[in-house]
Symmetry: C2
Subunit: 832 residues, 2 copies
Amino acid sequence: MHRDRPRYVIDRPAYNLTDFDREFDKKSRQFPVGEKVKKLFRYRIAISPHSQHELQVFPSRKLYLLTSFVLCSNSPVAMKFSRAVDFFTVTTIKSELFKEFPLFVSVRCSVLRLKGLLFRHLPVLSWLPKYKVKDNLLCDVISGVSAGTIQVPQGMAFALLASLPPVNGLYSSFFPLIPYFFMGTAHQMVPGTFAVLSIMVGIVCLRLAPESDFSHFNATLNSTIVDTDRMNEVRLGISGTLACLTAIIQIGLGFMQFGFVAIYLSESFVRGFMTAAGLQILISVLKYIFGIQVPPYSGPLAVIYTLVDIICGLPDTNIASLVFALVSSIVLIVAKELSARYRHKLPFPIPMEIIIVVVATAISGPLHLPEIYHMDIVGEIPLGFPAPILPTVNQWEDMLSTAFSLAIVGYVINLAMGRTLAAKHGYDVDPNQEMLALGCSNFLGSFFKIHVICCALSVTLAVDNAGGTSQFASLCVMLVVMVTMLALGAFLKPLPKSVLGALIAVNLKNTLLQLSDPYYLWKKSKLDCCVWVVSFLATFFLSLPYGVAIGVGFSILVVIFKTQFRNGSAMVQIMDTDIYKNPKVYSKVVSITGVKIVNYCSPLYFANAEIFRQRVIKKTGLDPGKLILARRKFLEKEQKQKTKEENKENETRRRKPSSLANMKTISQLELQIDFEMNDGSASKPEPPTSYVNFHCSDIEPGEQAPDQEPPSPTLVSQPMPFHTLILDLAGVCFIDLMGIKVLIKMNSSYTMLGIKLYLANVQAPVYEELEVGGAFDDGNIARSNLFLSVHDAIVFAQQTTGERRVSPTAERARQELAFNINEKKDLEQEMF
Amino acid sequence: MHRDRPRYVIDRPAYNLTDFDREFDKKSRQFPVGEKVKKLFRYRIAISPHSQHELQVFPSRKLYLLTSFVLCSNSPVAMKFSRAVDFFTVTTIKSELFKEFPLFVSVRCSVLRLKGLLFRHLPVLSWLPKYKVKDNLLCDVISGVSAGTIQVPQGMAFALLASLPPVNGLYSSFFPLIPYFFMGTAHQMVPGTFAVLSIMVGIVCLRLAPESDFSHFNATLNSTIVDTDRMNEVRLGISGTLACLTAIIQIGLGFMQFGFVAIYLSESFVRGFMTAAGLQILISVLKYIFGIQVPPYSGPLAVIYTLVDIICGLPDTNIASLVFALVSSIVLIVAKELSARYRHKLPFPIPMEIIIVVVATAISGPLHLPEIYHMDIVGEIPLGFPAPILPTVNQWEDMLSTAFSLAIVGYVINLAMGRTLAAKHGYDVDPNQEMLALGCSNFLGSFFKIHVICCALSVTLAVDNAGGTSQFASLCVMLVVMVTMLALGAFLKPLPKSVLGALIAVNLKNTLLQLSDPYYLWKKSKLDCCVWVVSFLATFFLSLPYGVAIGVGFSILVVIFKTQFRNGSAMVQIMDTDIYKNPKVYSKVVSITGVKIVNYCSPLYFANAEIFRQRVIKKTGLDPGKLILARRKFLEKEQKQKTKEENKENETRRRKPSSLANMKTISQLELQIDFEMNDGSASKPEPPTSYVNFHCSDIEPGEQAPDQEPPSPTLVSQPMPFHTLILDLAGVCFIDLMGIKVLIKMNSSYTMLGIKLYLANVQAPVYEELEVGGAFDDGNIARSNLFLSVHDAIVFAQQTTGERRVSPTAERARQELAFNINEKKDLEQEMF
């Protein structure tokens, strides 16, 4: 392709920003705050599924809208619109339409708003009427029933993780599905238990209702007896209370349109967190697999204590439990591998979980294995629906942080699954609506002793793989769970807990495979790897809520960190092009005499404003602040000497020509260095590049009023190592007041030295921030020093080099400013 | 200037990045991690005062270094070097020199290293030998003594804020100055009490040693008696313990080179925090001014309770106290105003504080006013040095968070003052060394019952205004404090506390003026204003340590927030230039048919990767994912129909030409919209811009092996609304793995649709991140799709438009990939 490579031919005037804006008619765009806030909300809404197109259409089609709204508000077109619009948009239209058709619209709009809200928050209204019974119902039923058979054993297993009786898993797999059916926007999603959430619930249950509270020493049996029934009852109450608090947080965040909080959880964090949680889950099911009694721990390092106890307890392994666990794991693994290989030939996935559970129960029960081998079993499952309970509100204080973690983590898992499904099937999920749906699911469930749920991973995948298309599949899952709850549960009594433990452990395969993440991440991005490792370690060794806080905090800190280092480089021209690159990277370059170009690629804000200044000083090799001070000191000395000499002259009545004595040629850089040395910092003098004449003006001493300050001598000529400094700010994507302050300060100090500071490639939003922040106010940066590109700036710099002699008076004023400016500052005000 | 405006004339080949790198000889720069870490440290060091120049010199001047080190290591040159080098640099030189002169160097280098460390951590060694006694000593002594007279009353006043006996203020103004004399890098700085820190210490003292612990009911007097002496003793112990913990944190951070933490405190936060602290200070001195007894509160909202109590207590105002306070405030304010006006005429500032204290004492004592009016007085000041105590280590757990806040806030105030002084006088302060110096000052002091100190603001300013040049001024301050401690303190017994309260209140003037900050900030930057307000409110209503945590957290969140909104705009060409701008801003623009340009100005990372994708979809008006799905569905239908037709044809033995039946022309956009509608999202069809032919290839059904998947039909021609999408990434200053993932995903989906994705203006660091992150790996983004500028990309896009017919087989393969790619994904793996 590069043989007949196209050419880049341009012949245009060079522009600075003022010229450019004038010539090409820049429109000023005002964004008042109210407007901005509205935009913010609108923007948020624009990501929601229904409203993207309509929002763009509104302003121009007001009349069309009106007719369609008013005249055919029951027709399909209006239906579609009413679904599309949401609260804020409706308000906007309403106010606009009101102006023109006040009476007519008002009634209609209230109806419209209500309808809009209804359709937005109950997606079932939009998909149910269009549901194609003939095409999809069969698929949904088959997929739902087969997925339901996974949901039952998994729910019971996860209830164990949450230190709750297995029946809680059935409740958790039933009640939350009802609100989600009406409110969920992800069609194939089945809400249900999720191991990570279960284990977090378990931590709270153990902390607030420890076993020790329910044990008493029975003298007859000479051992400690735990009142398991009462303990389970109390823990179910705690679990419901926690679910209720979590639900309230989720509903609150959903209504506040805070669905976007999900984006603060970076992938590296989520994977590290999930892996650590997976390991914790594995460790906590080991006791069921080996049939060992382990005292429950909570708090930081709990997982280590548990692990140690399990290892110490290994000699007491219950062989029967272990055999059950091993056999079921092996069967499950083999079945999973086979079904993965032949999944295209199977009409629906084989519900291996339920088969294992049934077989294990069938072996264990009739043979009385639990009694013979003292195996830990599921035990009596109370049949029927649970009686609703109220949350114990005064416990909320103790569970607030966990509830917050649960709310966020559950939501993020749910949303990630929903988005994956949506991408596969081509629909959108509304983040805020998902948050609400999840919250309502948890809320309803909380009265029926569930523990917090999100999406049931393997169940959802089973539904999707079997071709489920809608929430009818969830309905079938519910039916299966209900049948178990009402009738079949009774038969599960002799099921060994170790089988459930094995089911959990096998399902962790993918999570534990992520342990190799850091290896790949390290090669791709060191910092992402750090985030992973920090999240993993914090989650694993401290606990899951700590892990969330530390992981999120650290991944945000990494962003700040990224803006601080490895930025800023000098640039030179590439041969005779308009391209400027780092001379350390490209070799065929030419440098332009008298011009320095420094590039900076990072937002300019409080955390790096000072670093930016230092980088520019380092890359240009000249510290303007020090140079100005050095000059001032030099001039003060000069002044003193002059006064002395003049006194002498007065004595000797001008024997010598004074102008000669006052001329002095010294190196700028030597001056700077000399100054630095005086202040105790050592420095190797670089070869001087240019010389400067400090020329004291010939003011007669008589001309000075005695109470005036001594006039500063003028620097007549002052060739610097460079006359123009161009800052390429293309990579600066935003700037805050501290960044602006640094730029203004740099501008004024370079100006004092007669160096021009040009800014090139300023991004449009940065320009606005500069403008609002007062960077172009009087005495600060001149607008005409902003250029469209580095090359424009260079062209200007080369042209204006010749014009740089300024009138002596202006120069004089400038100099005085330069040398007195510091004196006038109030140091205390200056401090920050 | 714009009349003879220079022209921008360029005629060069258009480059994509591969061509450019080849032609201009790009060097690959390797930064192995070890190297990076070293660089990081070096960089950090480079900001330190001494090493800037040397570091650049080293590699080239090894031999010169060697000679100067070895031969004249006692000469001034080597001295200078040894001062310059620090631990890491020394290690580097050492290893380099070792290779060449192994035996000779080893001994010398150890000495050198020691010397380097010594000079680095004891700056006194470098400034003391060069101290010009004749020029500076007099100035230092005068400024020191006059500043000392400010230090004494202020220290005592701030001790009141800390709920400690006034003598503690004297200790705090004496002991910490000793280490700072040796270790401080800011020449004019006087360490001492600072109101904000004092009040934070006060909170801890009140919490850990509340008055109630020392009060008992005395039946004889029928009132509650507080054992003040013992309470003061315990509180002094707490104060010392807190200072010790703070010191350890500071020293630790200093040694870990964590001086840079200061930059995380944005100016808006610091000002908001300081203002809130100032208000709190004002409220807490009101009780002294009015002479009211107020029970101490701590914890959130303490300030409100105190304020309420003060207001309720106003009727009990002690008139004598109030008169003393008012008179001293007025005198002080007037004196300050006058001395500010005539400061150029005064040789040194008038020590008004001490004059007021002396006068107040002289009036109050001999006239026995305290006894007559029951005024609260300073009381007995124990003369002599305090006996050293050891910190009570087991209290550290309770004060950790406050100590951390104290360490950071104290350091930041100190550094801000140091930098202001350094900028005024042209030297550098070493952030890490300052942290160490401050830590050591607190550490020594902690054994002598001080409370945590940083810089004494008004004392330092007094020294500076009076022309102090070195730490000798601090020495004189120390002397003044010592004299008070040893002898004069006894005379201060009858000084009313209300006078000290008035001194504090008057000094708050500047802080309270900052209450108008939000007004100015709002105009300049809304978000900075939010940071100020949040910091202020959190600090004021909760408490100071909470304020630090919330303020810092919020200012970091704002940075993240800034990268998420108001980004991304479509761009079009400005007339016939190579400049591309937002058409909403500039009017004289031409759009290029078939090319869309989208600009994004923000780092691309986990928090906005999805937002970025949505923006591009919104700005181009085309969602590639949906379009692909729509096409696939359409083709599946087509395929079904075809099979049906073919069956029919087989029956009718090809009566009609089949190619005609298989051709179908539909609108791309209609397809997308139709698809969206099917999925329940409403959408207003835009006017179709282009049409597409779905042409099913004429494959004979017999050619297909029966177990193969049905071959996807080929799309022979597919004119889209645009054929090239150019992303202008100039403003993207870094990218993380999630950003890269989104780019790769976008690239593959656009490629499936036959749209080229070009990236323009990729910044050098971003390019590296893309490369390391695997963006250019097989099947991902082609390196040749990266361009130097938007115009280069445009030129390429326009040239290659004609060449876009690809060979049918390649196209076919691509299509198959396109339509099967989603099927092959493991959804669970895809989820995150």
